[in-house]
Amino acid sequence: MYACSALTVAWRHRALLWALTRRDIQNRYTGSVAGALWAFMHPLALLALYAVVFEAVFKVKVPNLFTGQPYVLFVALALWPWMAFQEAVMRGTTAVQQNGALVKKVAFDHELLIYSAVLSCFAIHGVGFAVVLVILGVLGFNIHFLGLLSLLAFVPVLLLMALVLALLLGALQVFVRDVEQLLSQAMTVLFYATPILFPMAIVPRWLAEAMHYNPLVHVIEPLRNGLLGQGSFDAESIAWVAFVSVIAFAVARAFFLRLSPYFEDMV
């Protein structure tokens, strides 16, 4: 019920949610000469960097990968979803604190701050991902475009996971400022605990078993496999992950709403 009423709140205040999200996106690019162009430049620059380092210097080959599918493609397909997730959690964590002026002076649903922070990150990196996919496609890389359909299942689940963490940590951050510091450490660990630079297939068995407790594994890996045209779409697995995410979201939102009346005391 907590999960459903979140949708009600978001819909009722859609004008505010939209305005806040727009502001979050604008915030990063206003005043810069290239403006929103940076949203495209950043992923391209990163992609070029990875291409040089991994293709030209390390000459990395991923086992079990079809021919004609270089490592840079392999990394790119997992990196953008990860960046969206990571940034959404980081920004969501500081969202309430950074909007302290609003929290102190205006009566509104604080959860919207979290939602807008997460949505804006997904929007920006969603665009970046689309640009990268198009470029890679144009360059002749073998992207399985039917796999794009599976994004419709994976991206919402990833978004939900980001919301869970952002709600929990965002509320906690208001009271305990250490959260932000700990988070950047934790994110580095999580990055390597998620199959982004490597496929799960080459992870030793004992480690893979431990990694399966990381819910991101069940989203990022099949998402990339789908786009690479490997493996098959496992509806049961994603449904299970989605179910757990919804439960977690309900708990996280209850936690957030329990603490939100006291935000004004602390920001």
Partner: protein, 402 residues
């Protein structure tokens, strides 16, 4: 009539505590206690046991020194803060002007900021679009509206903030020292807006340090002192007692205790007009004057500290339109204490040139510096006659033969 309605705002024993900042692991302990629904151990009680109701059409002023808890109370009523104890009921749309321009972002244009600010008030995009012309007209910013806010003068930001906040006419308007900012013409615009709003049945909660604004805009007032209600009642009474209390505080400890027995109880501590007569008749009656006859305003002034007060005497139309006012200080006239320690005064207006109608003579006690005005005593009088002249005053004139 309004007493039988449901109040728009009802506070019953409302209190608000703030946790005191602590170091170390206490923050985690605080999260835990919040989750369990218990209060942290170390709190500052910003407000305690506040109870009052606000009905539709009422205008209530909040007075009190800085840190008394006024702003916290307004935040509670605005819904920004939840009460720690007690019950708070709110009905209708509550518009809060806690700080003009809240939520404005300096990097965005005025127009973009309007949309976000309106969204914060719960307006949809379409609602905002339908109101934007009115907002632009009231804010009067001109072409700058499409410039980033950081290039605005502070006055422009405030105008924009007020225009946005008043674009939706709320059932209850809550304002916190809003009138203190902005230039003279903006203040006037705000006051006119608020008076219109009140005349159209609006409900106002105003927090101000200006007793003038409180008395002008509010019928009721609540005096908050150290987180508790010290007094509530008619704004004129509350404002007077509040000023008296300030005088008391600011007065040197050695008190010239001249005539405290003759002073009435509630105005003991301030300069005030003790008595006032028109042509020797006291304030209970409306007196009648023939045109061009003399008017003598006399009375006594009380001084709390033995220093010589000044007296301001004025004549206004029954509707409040000022006609003439004079302060003893302007004429370098010094009052002299009588045997009881009061300061009698008497001023004569020879051949009063007022046209027929009802007028009010007012007198106000002022401090020895002639700076501050303390009270307000008035008595009505009628000027008789059937002159067809227009206006208030007969001006000496003659027609020239051509």
């Amino acid at each position: 009539m309004s007493e039988t309605q449901q109040p728009l705002i009802k506070l019953a024993g409302v209190g608000k505590s703030y946790p005191l900042v602590q170091k170390g692991g206490h923050q985690l302990a605080q999260v835990w206690s919040r989750l369990r629904g218990t209060e942290p151990s170390h709190v500052f009680k910003a407000l305690q046991d506040i109870s009052f109701d606000v009905y539709k059409g009422q205008s209530v002023g909040l007075v009190g020194v800085n840190g008394a808890g006024k702003s916290t109370l307004l935040k509670l009523i605005a819904g920004v803060v939840k009460p720690t104890t007690g019950r708070l009921e709110r009905r209708g749309r509550i518009g809060a002007l806690l700080e003009l321009g809240t939520g404005f972002h300096p990097d965005y244009t005025g127009r973009d900021n309007i949309y976000l600010a309106c969204a914060l008030m719960g307006l949809s995009h379409a609602d905002t679009q339908s109101r934007i012309d009115g907002i632009l007209a009231f804010a009067d910013i001109g072409e700058h509206i499409d410039q980033p806010l950081k290039h605005y003068s502070s006055g422009m930001v405030v105008r924009l903030g007020f225009a946005v906040a008043t674009s939706v006419v709320p059932d209850v308007l809550i304002t916190d020292e809003v009138l203190a900012v902005g230039d003279e013409s903006f203040q006037k615009k705000c006051i006119v807006w608020m008076e219109n709003y009140l005349n159209n049945g609006g409900t106002l909660l105003l927090c101000s340090h200006s007793m003038y604004h409180i008395q002008k805009l509010c019928k009721q007032a609540v005096w908050i002192d150290q987180g508790r209600i010290r007094e509530k009642g008619l704004s004129a009474n509350v404002a007077r007692n509040y000023l008296a209390w300030h005088e008391e505080k600011g007065r040197p400890s050695k008190v010239a205790n001249v005539s405290s027995k003759t002073a009435s109880q509630d105005t003991e501590g301030i300069y005030h007009v003790e008595s006032m007569n028109l042509n020797g008749i006291d304030k209970q009656q409306v007196i009648s004057l023939n045109p061009q006859s003399d008017l003598t305003v006399s009375g006594t002034v009380y001084s709390p500290d033995g220093r010589t007060p000044h007296i301001a005497v004025g004549i206004v139309r029954a509707d409040g339109t000022p006609i003439y006012g004079i302060v003893s200080e302007m004429d370098m006239h010094a009052l002299k204490a009588n045997a009881q320690g009061l300061y009698p005064f008497e001023i004569v207006f020879k051949h009063l040139p007022l046209l027929p109608g009802r007028y009010v003579a007012r007198s106000h006690a002022m401090d020895p510096e002639g700076m501050r005005l303390f009270d307000h005593v008035e008595q009505s009088f009628d000027v008789l006659g059937d002159s067809r002249e227009l206006g208030y005053v007969h001006l000496e004139h003659h027609w020239v033969e051509k």
